[in-house]
Every structure is written in C-alpha cells, then in structure tokens.
C-alpha cells in the first residue's frame, strides 16, 4: 500500500525537478561552481596561465597594505553613501508625482522609465558630451548665463576634477531610476484608499498623510529598493569606467569593481581578484544583514 502511495508523489517530484532542471543546471554551472572556485582561488596565487598555488590568507594580508585596495574601497563607499539615498529620494519623489492625478499619466511614466532602457554605454557617451569640461553643453550654458550677468566664471571640469567627480557620478545615477520608480509607483498604488480617508477624517494634512501613511506603507518597497541599491552601488562599473577612462584623475573615481577587473585581467592575478571579490561579497552581505536587522524598526507590513 505504501509503495503505491509514494509512486505518484515521486513522479510528481521528478516532473517538478525536470521543469526546474534548466535553472538548476544553469545556476550550478554558471553561478554556484564559479562561486565555489572563486572562494578557492582567493586562497591561491593564480596567474591564470599557471596552476593555482595555495598561499592561505596571503592575498587578504597583501590587500590590507595595498593603497589601491583602500582607495577603491573608500571611493565605492563614498559613492554608495551619496548614490543610494539620492537615488532613493529622487525615485520616491518621482513616484509620488506620477501617482498624482495628472493628465496622460502613461506618457509621463514612459518619459521617466525610458532613460533606464538606454544602454549604459550610450548614456555614458551622452554624459561625456554634456559634462565635457571645455565645450560640454552644461559648461557652455553656465558660461553664457554668467555672461548675461557680466560675471567671469570658469565652470569646473566635472569629470576631470578629483574633488567633484564622485558626487557627479552619484548624480548621474538618477538617469537610471526608472526601474526603481516603477516599483515605488506599484507600492504607492497598493496603499488602500481607506487609510488616506481615515487620516483625512482625523484631520491629517498632506504632509502628515505623507509622513504617517504613505511612507510607512511604502517602507517594504523602500526596504527592497534599499537592498538592491546597496548591491548596485557596490557593483557599479560601466558608466564610471567610460566616463573617467578607468578611474579618473589620481584614481579619484577608481571603484572596487575596476580594481577586481584590473587585478584579474591586467595584472593576471586571479587569486587576488578572487580575494577582492570575496571581500566585496562579505561587505555587501554585512550591509544587507544590517539593513534586514534594522528593518524591524522602520519597515511596516500590513
């Protein structure tokens, strides 16, 4: 009796496994195996063309006294600190605006979402043109405006200056907020109308409704976007790489991912690159755990 009862269940499990197999195989071959190998390589000296040689924690020790490591870490941290709150703030604001009763909402949503569809290389080229220190559209505009008021003004070299390049790159990040805005917008539309009505009956104004209804009800979406933003800011590579030519003046925009790439493919130190990747993984994990831990205080589920 037992055998006959188990057979359909087994068949069901096998069918399920067969459907999930493409993902499982893909995940194992392209993610799990490389991840395990990267952990292994991080404890080796591995110039790619020779076999990996076990060196224990030497890669990690070497990184602790490597100025490039600290510089790239510092730059990425500063960028994340500027970019994540800025992008979140802009996204929430745009989502709130798009959620207002406006004419042709579809058009506005498309306008906001469209830039995120532009390939990153194309948008980087666009920014290069806009922010060129000499003949960029922004600087030409600034010079002309200053000229109208009779002022002599030399606008900065936005991408060449080592003091402002990180804020500029963080600002550029708003170009791709379309995805985040759409998620926030979905979150906003999910907030029950009764809650606003109840707040209104209690005498809450627009600001209080935003503060005590919208933002708390949006907090699960914020939580999700915050984690994605942290991961994204620690993995940033393409746009800054193109805009700064691989790290900018004095390596002022040399990001962590750029160092991983250089270590692996320019200096052929795959072991050190793997160690860098492990540290990055650890940092992102710790930050995510912190956000998850803190979410008990600020994320409100219905």
């Amino acid at each position: 009796m037992k055998v006959s009862a188990d057979r359909p269940r087994l068949r069901e499990q096998m069918t399920g496994m067969a459907f999930a197999a493409p993902f499982i195989v893909g995940f194992s071959v392209f993610l799990a195996y490389p991840l395990v190998q990267a952990v292994h390589f991080s404890f080796t000296q591995y110039p790619m063309l020779q076999s990996p040689m076990w060196i224990g924690l030497d890669n990690f020790r070497a990184l602790m006294v490597d100025p490039d490591f600290w510089k790239s870490l510092r730059n990425t941290l500063l960028f994340a600190l500027m970019s994540v709150p800025f992008t979140m703030g802009i996204s929430v604001m745009l989502a709130l605006l798009l959620n207002c009763p406006i004419k042709a909402p579809g058009v506005w949503r498309t306008i906001v979402f469209l830039p995120s569809l532009v390939p990153s290389v194309a948008s980087a080229m666009l920014w290069l043109w806009l922010l060129n220190g000499k003949d960029g559209l922004l600087n030409v505009l600034l010079r002309n405006v200053a000229g109208v008021f009779g002022l002599q003004f030399t606008p900065p070299d936005w991408l060449g200056s080592q003091t402002i390049v990180l804020p500029v790159l963080a600002f550029i990040g708003f170009w791709g907020v379309g995805n985040t805005v759409v998620i926030f917008l979905a979150g906003l539309q999910d907030i029950p109308r009764e809650m606003y009505e109840a707040a209104e009956i209690d005498g809450a104004g627009a600001w209080q409704r935003l503060r005590h209804v919208t933002l708390p009800m949006l907090s699960p979406v914020m939580f999700f976007n915050l984690i994605m933003g942290i991961i994204g800011s620690w993995s940033i590579f393409d746009v800054p790489y193109i805009l700064t030519g691989g790290g900018g003046t004095n390596h002022a925009a040399y990001f962590y991912t750029m160092y991983i790439r250089d270590a692996a493919f320019i200096y052929t130190e795959a072991g050190k690159a793997s160690a860098l990747a492990m540290i990055q993984f650890l940092i992102v994990t710790v930050l995510t755990v912190l956000v998850v831990w803190s979410s008990r205080r600020w994320v409100h589920y219905r």
Partner: protein, 500 residues
C-alpha cells in the same frame, strides 16, 4: 486603415531583412567568403586581431592575399576575427584551453605572456631563417626573442616622432622645415606658438607633454633614465633622471595653471577623429607614431579623397588604375609634407636620435592552439618581405625587416617613412621591457604623471615618484616571493616524481 498600414510597413521590413540576409554583400572578394563556405578538406586557422578601421582593413587585405594564393594551394583558410581587448581575451581563452591559432597582440604584454608560458615558441620560423637576428631590426629582435628564443613575429612596429604644424610655425615666425632639436628649444618654440586670451584661457597650445598621453611613462627615457635593469628585472622610477623628466613635464601644468590646462585638455577629442587638437590646429606640436600620417589624412578635410584607404577603395572598385593610385598617394604625401613636419623627438641628453622610443604589435601562437603547423605557415607568409611591406604600407608604418625595398619607401603614404625607418634601426631605441612586471611599473608611472599634471599644488615630483617606486617595489617583492615558491613546488614535485 492604420492596421493595414502597420502590416504593410512590417512586411516591407521583413522582406528587406530577408533580402539583406540572402543577397547582401559578403566579406572578402574571393571564393570562400567566410569559414562556413570553406571546403571540408581545408583547415581553418582562427586569427584574433585587435585592429579595426583602416588598420583592420590592412590586416584583412593581407589575410585575403593569403587565402587567395598560398592558402588555396595549401588548403588553409585564415579567419580573421576582430577582437577588442585582445590581450585579456587571449589570456582567458588560453587559460581555458581554447585559444585562437594566431593572436594579434600588443607588444606591451609580451613579457608577461612569455613568462607565464602562454605562447608557443616559434622555433620553426627561427630555424628556417624567417625570424632571426639578421632578418629583424635589432630592437624588434630583442623584443620578440628576449632570451634568444623567438616567441612572436612583429606585425607592425613603430617609433615615436615629434610632429609639427608647418602653417602655425610660419605664423609664429619659426622655420617650418626644422623641428625642435632639444627639450630647451621645444619649450621655446612652444612658448612662441602658444596663444592665451585676455581671460588667461589657452586658445592654442604650442606643446603639451601630456598630449596625447600615450607615452607618459616614457619621459624618463628622453632624460637619460634607464628604467629597466634586464639582469635583475628591476624597474627604477625615482631616479634623478626621472625627477628631471617629470619636473619638466609638470612645469607645463604650473606655467599655464592646472585648471587652465585641464579645461583646455577637456576639449580634446579622440586621437583618430577630426576633433584631434593637432588636426584642428589647437595644438601645434605633438609626439606621435608613424600611423599619425594616416589619421591626419583620414580626418583632415584637406585630404578628402586623397587618403590612402579611400584611394585603395577606388582601386579595388577599379575606378582608378594603379598608376593613378600611385600618383594620388604621391600627391597626398606632398600635401602632408607641405603642411606638417615630423622628425626624431628632442631629448635632454644630446641631439635628436640619442634617445628614442619604440613599440610593436605582434603575431603569436598561444599555448594550446589547435592548428600550429598551419598557423606557422600563415605567419611565415605574413612575414615575407613583400607582404610585410604591404601591411606596413596600410598601417603607415616602417617595416620590421632589415631588408626594405626601394619601392616601399618610394610609394609609402607616409612622407617621413625614412625618418621612422632610421629610428627603428637605431641602437638608441628603447621602450618594451620584456618583463612580466612592466605593466605594473608602467601603471605606477602613469598614475604619478597624472597626479603631477592634475594637481601640482598637492604633488611634488620627488615624493610622488618615490611613492610610485614604493608601490611598485611592493608588487615586485610579492611577485618574486611567489615565483620562488613556485620554483620550490615544481622542484619538489619533480623530485618526488624522480624518486617514484
């Protein structure tokens, strides 16, 4: 009506796509336009090459020549694949055991590739006299055979010259036929050619040592620095010669103000575009390689319909005869020489020619290549004098071979090819240390130069170079430590195998 219109548009687009797929032009002009059309008894040799545009067309021309002549007879087909970041991709492909049969690499990485055993020695080409100390120019021989064994063939070599705009020289009252003979004279000429407006902004720069920035690591050579000790494989960055070189380099940023030169430099376009400041007359002198003649001819309006690749296209379409093409090339040469000059670069240790900088691109067979015999045949064909000269003509460069035909010099699109040939033969040429640590050293110097140029107020020359040296020394110590450990591991494993 709208739906019908949409459907018609969609139908037309699909038909157009189908037409292009079925009847569109195919690459190459010979019987087997791509590897899929090659008869089954042919061996397909995969050749990865970094070059695109005019240089890529030159490479394809030589490949086509092989495929339609010797390749057809020997049943070998070369498939040229244009690959960006070819060094990195070849490295990964070789490590993964699936490299191309021939890799067209930059010479800068050769030392690292040889050290890590990524390349198969070309001993057959050395033995049959194709690549020897006698057939190659000495500098290139030293590069491709650092310890006497040939690891690569030079595809197109280069030396660096000083180019100047003769029209701007005339305007500034300078002799247009005479370039700077020393660093001091370069500075004086630069001052006379520079134009600054009333607000202190640079309108035209006589010379800027960081333009185009490709050889920022090599300035020490022109001040007598010997960066690489071949015996010890050590690099010296913080030498007195380098301090002098980079003090001179930084002086330009200080003279005009770092903000001013940066704003001026931000307006520079890519080198191979009409926005190149030398081409549009905003920089009067610059360091460049022989290819620059081709760039100027391709992107400066006065050379419209006279540039080499356009002439070649006309020739291949049979719009002009060979004699007409030769006449046009001579016309272009004369036009270039009328407006631009090129000569050996000045230095601070003596007369021009006492310190020269060289570079090269290479063909190599990566370890694990599947068609070694055929790849050797292909490289042997490429390296033949007439084919080498054809390729170097397309690239506007000198030939790597000692023997150069009179026709090569006479019909070369570069009017200063004799200068580049002479430089390449000189014993004073340096530039490509065949060491796995060269890229690290180069990067440290580049970074230091960048800091000195961008923020001279914060970075003094000596401490910046000292810091660069310390950074490099740390990497070198690490490299040596692991190289030693590897040797121990290898000798231990070979010892245990011996006992077994």
């Amino acid at each position: 009506m709208r739906i019908l219109f949409s459907r018609v548009i969609a139908g037309v687009m699909i038909l157009a796509a189908l037409y292009v797929l079925l009847f569109g032009s195919k690459p190459g002009s010979y019987e087997y336009p791509d590897a899929t059309a090659v008869p089954k008894d042919f061996t397909v040799v995969t050749y990865w090459e970094k070059w695109t545009r005019e240089e890529g067309a030159g490479m394809q021309r030589v490949v086509d020549l092989f495929n339609t002549t010797e390749g057809r007879d020997k049943k070998i087909f070369v498939q040229l694949v244009s690959v960006s970041q070819v060094d990195q991709k070849t490295l990964v492909a070789t490590a993964g055991g699936d490299p191309p049969d021939i890799a067209g690499l930059w010479g800068q990485q050769l030392g690292a590739f040889i050290t890590y055993g990524a390349l198969r020695p070309l001993t057959e080409l050395q033995a049959d006299g194709t690549i020897t100390a006698e057939t190659y120019k000495p500098f290139l021989w030293k590069c491709v055979a650092p310890h006497g064994t040939v690891y690569a063939a030079s595809s197109t070599p280069a030396t660096v010259a000083i180019f100047w705009n003769k029209d701007l020289f005339r305007e500034a009252g300078l002799d247009p036929e005479r370039g700077p003979q020393s660093i001091k004279e370069l500075d004086e000429m630069a001052d006379r050619l520079t134009v600054v407006d009333g607000k202190g902004q640079i309108i035209r720069a006589g010379y800027l040592p960081n333009f185009p920035g490709w050889w920022d690591y090599s300035w020490g050579e022109f001040f007598g620095n010997k960066i690489w000790n071949e015996e010890t494989d050590d690099f010296r960055i913080d030498t007195p010669e380098n301090v002098r070189a980079y003090s001179w380099y930084q002086k330009y940023a200080i003279k005009y103000g770092p903000g001013t030169v940066q704003t001026f430099g931000a307006g520079f376009g890519q080198v191979a575009t009409p926005q190149n400041p030398f081409m549009n007359g905003t920089v009067a002198m610059c360091l460049q390689g022989p290819w620059f003649v081709s760039y100027v001819e391709n992107y400066t309006p006065r050379f419209a319909k006279l540039n080499f690749s356009y002439i070649q296209r006309q020739l291949s379409r049979r719009e002009i005869t060979q004699a007409q093409a030769d006449a046009k090339i001579i016309e272009a040469r004369e036009l270039f020489a009328e407006h631009y000059g090129a000569a050996m670069p000045p230095n601070s240790i003596g007369k021009p020619g006492d310190a020269l900088h060289g570079d090269l691109d290479i063909w190599a067979i990566p370890r694990g290549a599947k068609h070694v015999k055929e790849a050797l045949e292909v490289i042997r064909f490429f390296t033949r004098q007439e084919n080498m000269e054809l390729l170097c003509t397309w690239h506007s460069k000198p030939s790597p071979l000692m023997k150069v035909s009179e026709k090569f010099i006479r019909n070369h699109p570069n009017p200063y090819i004799d200068v580049f040939e002479e430089m390449l033969r000189s014993p004073n040429i340096t530039g490509l240390p065949q060491s796995p640590n060269w890229i690290r050293a180069q990067d440290q110097i580049r970074l230091a130069a960048n800091a000195l140029w961008r923020s001279p107020e914060r970075n003094a020359v000596e401490p910046t170079l000292r810091q660069a040296q310390e950074n490099f020394d740390r990497h070198l110590a690490e490299y040596r430590k692991y190289a030693g450990m590897r040797k121990q591991v290898e000798s231990a494993s070979s010892g245990s195998e011996g006992r077994r």
